[in-house]
């Protein structure tokens, strides 16, 4: 029987916590930004869109280093946030931030595409029935785009679960704090006698990934079914 050691349990727990936190916190701004990019045109839109996609194109190490410069203890944003009790440097929250930033473009892209698919004429029909912009968004646009939002969430979560480069650059690999599954696997590859433990961890990683994928696919599909009528 395959039993998990306390250390392994702790790694899995941390990985899921980091990925879930990253996904949860990037969802509201991601959806808002996707809606903005889908429905409005404004000066600087191309720039904003490009900036959003930057983590997708840049080497993750560069993104991680940029985070370190910005959110490190001496970084401008890090210093700004520290008095409020928000610290990212070498903390699991930093790992979540790195995962969120890396997953953000995937989320925004999927959600934006699904907003693009929602017919604005349907929205204007809701307007003539007495729905203001916010109500219209919540009752028409968002439900119709929900399958895309679900897909984007799955993507972002998967990315967060596997994120390596930006995380290790930004918050290093601190056992129990920032050492998520990929980081733990990597550090085992550096040990001369870590092969058995490495194999176990790889199997766990595959299991967790498949489990998360199946679960989220099921979730996305049930959302799509409930909303219905949207292709």
């Amino acid at each position: 029987m395959f039993t998990l050691s306390p250390e392994e349990q702790q790694i899995i727990g941390l990985s899921l916590k980091v990925a879930a936190t990253a996904t949860l916190f990037s969802l509201p701004p991601g959806v808002a930004l996707a809606y903005l990019l889908s429905r409005y045109s404004f000066p600087g839109k191309a720039l904003l869109s490009g900036l959003t996609h930057l983590p997708l194109i840049l080497p993750p190490v560069v993104t991680g280093y940029a985070l370190l410069l910005l959110f490190g203890r001496s970084g401008p944003l890090g210093r700004l946030l520290e008095p409020m009790g928000i610290v990212f440097a070498f903390d699991w929250t930093g790992a979540a931030l790195a995962a969120a930033v890396m997953g953000f473009p995937l989320l925004v892209r999927a959600v934006r595409l699904s907003f693009d698919m929602v017919d604005p004429r349907i929205e204007s029909a809701a307007g003539t029935l007495g729905a203001g912009p916010i109500v219209r968004f919540l009752t028409i646009t968002l439900p119709l785009a929900l399958p895309g939002v679900a897909a984007g969430t799955v993507l972002a979560f998967a990315k967060a679960l596997g994120e390596f480069g930006a995380t290790i650059t930004f918050v290093a690999s601190i056992p129990g704090e920032t050492r998520t599954l990929p980081l733990a696997i990597y550090s085992l590859t550096q040990l001369p006698d870590g092969e058995a433990a490495l194999l176990r961890l790889i199997l766990i990683s595959v299991g967790v990934s498949i489990g998360a994928l199946v679960l989220s696919e099921w979730g996305a599909r049930s959302v799509a079914r409930r909303v219905g009528g949207v292709r």
Partner: protein, 354 residues
């Protein structure tokens, strides 16, 4: 009372709008692409004009001088789009109740709308399981349930075949009698003739008027707008007797008795008869042995020379009729204003539209 004046500029055309109407049914009439829907969208608040003013029942909805524009969702104007635009993720029932839920209407007239539009069997369906005619009926019901001050119907019959039109027309008739005032967008003469109390002609970058259908169709622009090849007389009347066996209907047209073969009417019904000016012949004496069932003694009011002949305007009391004859015919009969003639109309030439 709806008053609209505006200058609209869209991508590739501009439109000057000026009309006011307090009729039950006001028709925006014109060719496809003339800008009818644009005018409707202006009234609903879906587009903004360069400058303009829209007043409904004394409330200013738009005034470019003061910068006032009541947003769409606060105008309480129902809009039935040509493409229905039902919400695909909701059942018919939820579509119908969308408006009342927004306004917090505690007692939406759901049953009433369902009965009026025959929606009983559709309530639990999704929009993608509806036919075109059913979807439009649901869209009408959905707009009605917001208790609108004005209902805009954008080509509610366009693209439907004969049977589906027959599905909707009776509901429109009933709506016209019981519902809110209607702004009806159409390019079809028969619909306008059947339903309109006032007609606004839309064409050549203008939307002006709000006249009676007969007066509106008397304009040369109307002929172009409608794609007509001859002027029409649109006559309001009331059924006096109806002989079902011989399918012969006697209609009182402003005091003149008129025979037409109509279906599904009963004495007392108010209706409109449309007669093409080419279907009216003239005679100086009463041709009693001819087959014309309508031989109306009338007086020539005016003659108009047209490219395709002479348009003879006839009158008898309140009744106005137009006849299009050739120049030769006009000379043979020595037609001149004041001359007494018999207007000959075959009963089968009279089309019924209401």
């Amino acid at each position: 009372m709806l008053k609209v004046s505006a200058h609209i500029v869209l991508d590739d055309f501009s439109l000057d709008v000026a009309f006011s109407s307090d009729a039950r049914i006001t028709c925006l009439f014109g060719r496809s692409g003339a800008g009818k829907t644009t005018v409707a969208e202006l009234v609903a608040g879906l587009i903004r004009p360069i400058r303009g003013r829209v007043v409904l029942d004394g409330e200013v909805l738009l005034d470019s001088d003061t910068g006032l524009s009541v947003p769409v969702w606060k105008r309480r104007i129902g809009y039935v789009f040509q493409d229905a635009r039902l919400f695909p993720h909701m059942t018919v029932r939820d579509n119908l109740l969308y408006g009342p839920r927004r306004s917090g209407d505690p007692d939406p007239a759901l049953d009433q709308a369902v009965a009026l539009l025959g929606l009983e069997s559709l309530l639990e369906r999704r929009p993608d399981a509806l036919s075109g005619g059913e979807a439009r009926r649901v869209a009408i019901g959905r707009a009605l349930l917001t208790r609108p001050r004005l209902l805009i119907l954008d080509e509610p019959l366009a693209g439907l075949d004969g049977a589906r039109r027959g599905d909707i027309l009776p509901y429109l008739d009933q709506l016209a009698r019981e519902g809110p005032p209607i702004l009806y967008v159409s390019h079809a003469v028969d619909e306008v003739a059947r339903l309109a109390d006032r007609v606004v002609l839309v064409g050549d970058g203008q939307a002006v008027g709000a006249e009676s259908p007969d007066a509106a169709f008397d304009r040369p622009e109307a002929e172009t707008a409608a794609g007509l090849s001859a002027p029409l007389s649109i006559l309001d009347g009331q059924v006096t007797t109806h002989d079902t066996a011989r399918n012969a209907t006697r209609i009182d047209l402003a005091g003149t008795s008129f025979l037409a073969p109509l279906l599904d009417v009963s004495p007392g019904d108010r209706l409109r008869v449309v007669v093409d000016a080419r279907d009216v012949a003239l005679a100086l004496t009463d041709p009693v042995d001819a087959s014309f069932q309508n031989r109306l003694q009338m007086q020539v009011a005016a003659l108009e020379v047209r490219a395709d002949g002479i348009l003879v305007r006839l009158e008898a009391g309140e009744l106005r009729l137009k006849a299009l004859v050739t120049r030769q015919a006009s000379e043979q009969l020595a037609l001149a204003p004041g001359k007494r003639v018999f207007a000959l109309v075959k009963a089968t030439a009279a089309a019924r539209y209401a």
